[in-house]
Amino acid sequence: MGKAEQTDVVVIGSGAGGAPVAVTLSEAGARVIVLERGPSYTIRDFTHDEVAICRRDFFVPFPYPGHSPHTIRKRGQNSYHLTNEGWVGVCVGGGTVHMSGFTYRLKESDLRLRSMTGGIAGADIVDWPISMDELLPYYDLYEARCGVSGQAGVNPTETRRRPFPLPALRPHPVARLVDQAAGKLGFHSFPTPRAILSAPYGGRPPCNYCGFCGEYGCENGSKSSVAASLLPQAQKTGRCQVRPGCMVTRILTDKDDRATGVVYLDKKGEERKLEARVVVLAATAIESARLLLMSKNGRFPLGLANRSGLVGKNLTFSTFGKGTSIFERHELEKKLGSEGMDLPFLQRSVQDDYWNEKNGLLLPKGGTYNFLLHHPNPINAAVRLMMESKWSLWGQKLKDRLREYFHDELWVEFEVFGEFLPHSGCYVDLDPQVKDGFGLPVARISNLHHPASDEVNKFCVRRGMDILEAMRPAAKKVWPFTWSSTTYHLQHGTCRFGSDPSRSVLNPDCMTHDVHNLYITDGSFMPSSGAVPATPTIMANSFRVAEKIAGRFLRREIPA
């Protein structure tokens, strides 16, 4: 290891949690170094090559020993096996690069789940130590800085005071049928807010409606990933460096329990030391917990900042359900006309029963229903058709079916994002046997669902099916594709925040209770998952925390 380098702030991870801190603090005058273990891609690297990008390890590592696997144990399994689940985009910009960009906000009921339910047996739910009023201005800030499109005032459950910076994206004509069907059942469908530009914004061009958003990087620069928006803004200050290919292996602390910096392996695999006045950890809920557990030392024998023993506990994902319907293209064209039939986004969501005391279940919640068209990926479509036939679809039948699927049918689907209750059966720790390519223990995930989350998810899938079935002209086939499954790339909770150091890892400002210059700004802080994808919340909170850190710098509370 060479001579240590020095900086004001080191940020570990360049995604949704890291980038807002990097931009805020570098603009405030601090020298910031962002260490990212993945490569740095430019928009030239983003093609629609399904094999390379979706079916290999472009964004997430292969699940083989010697790469960077996770190990996982799911419902009904007794042992752990290798997986790549739980990884989120390993590249500069993190998961925001290959996200679909659904930008729903949390609601008051998510932050007050404990007091509003009175507690649920077997679930470790707590209220958030901050109020929605504290978070709201930062949602606005996130939307304005990155560029989010949507329509305000049409979602009766929404938590916003300002309009969206950009109008909603153009919807597919089938959105009219969803609106009618939802209206018939007493729901209010609204245009899905997206982190995708509908008009030029911040020097970036608007969306070209290619439809390759989820799983892909945007070759147009219209998706508001932090790599397209915040990181260039941070680098423009001249005080922020983003270093790809740098894997942090340890966070260092001194005898006064202050973080002194990090040790990392650079692009060439050489070990380097970086000293910093503030360390900000934002490597995803799973990987941040892993790094803290790997950074244990004499003063922190259970893992860094883990005197509460809660690092890695209370891991939550998002429960996931999906229903699918198949429409005849020519029938739709008869009713809706052919204009816009090739548009890729359905762009409708429903959140009416987000808080639902009438559902008769233990958890009085519903979820977020996101209506969308099937992804344009052709290989994925072929494999899905074969899988759904239990692999009996092959030979000439397969070719005929493919032709029918792409020429004559339109698949309309909904996804349900649901509350994933934290409980003792879902956590992450270090695998005692499996090591990654660096020789470090990999994260071991145990994922069991709380039965109440599953009940709600099933309930929501039935509700969504009602909407699909109420659409006219009627679909030729409607079926629930899955329910009570897990969306692994939405992850939270492994270092929850709270006021009581014995019951939380972070304080309300997302500083660790045990190390007073170590902050965590990815999804780890969230004590409850909410029933929406968490990316906008992570970013809003990261802006909030960055302002707190900047305030401490200005008040000279952080020693040089």
């Binding site: 290999r56 290989i379 792409f406």
Partner: protein, 186 residues
Amino acid sequence: MITRRQMILGLLSAAGTGFYPGLLKAGANTLLGAMSGWVFEPDRLRALLAAADRVLPGVVAAGFEDYINYWLIKEPFNRAADWKPLLNIGAVHLDRVARKRHKRAFADCKSEQQDELLSSFQLGEISARHFSSNAFFQRLAMVCAESFLSDPKYGGNRAQVGWHLIGHHACWWAPRRKLPAGLPAY
């Protein structure tokens, strides 16, 4: 499909005159694969190609051999370490079961016999130690779909026949752009 003989002839012929350049390139790659010892044994390859053409007719004419014999062994694909062994052992079992039932190699069976054999694999009826016949069938079907519908640069969607079948260019940025008329109907 290019045989090794064609490929070597192609390489020897003066700069591949009259040779489709992509084919020459693929041939060279296959030769490199053969030299590095990664390529499937000829008998196994023969069984795999015959099976693939029943699973997704036309896939072999569209360049399936190039796809599995070159791209599956190239970075980053070769790092998906379990693909090749499963296809390899599956090919051995295809021939073994075909010889048992019809006294000839899988590739030499009639189409109906091949279909019947593949059905047994698909349903997981073939029992052998450390081998799951339905897992092999599923992997083979997935590789067929990948080869047929992926970017033609991987050699398996030659002249974009797969995309022609489904009527849009998955790799072009334009949404569901229709292909120009006049391409061969597959």
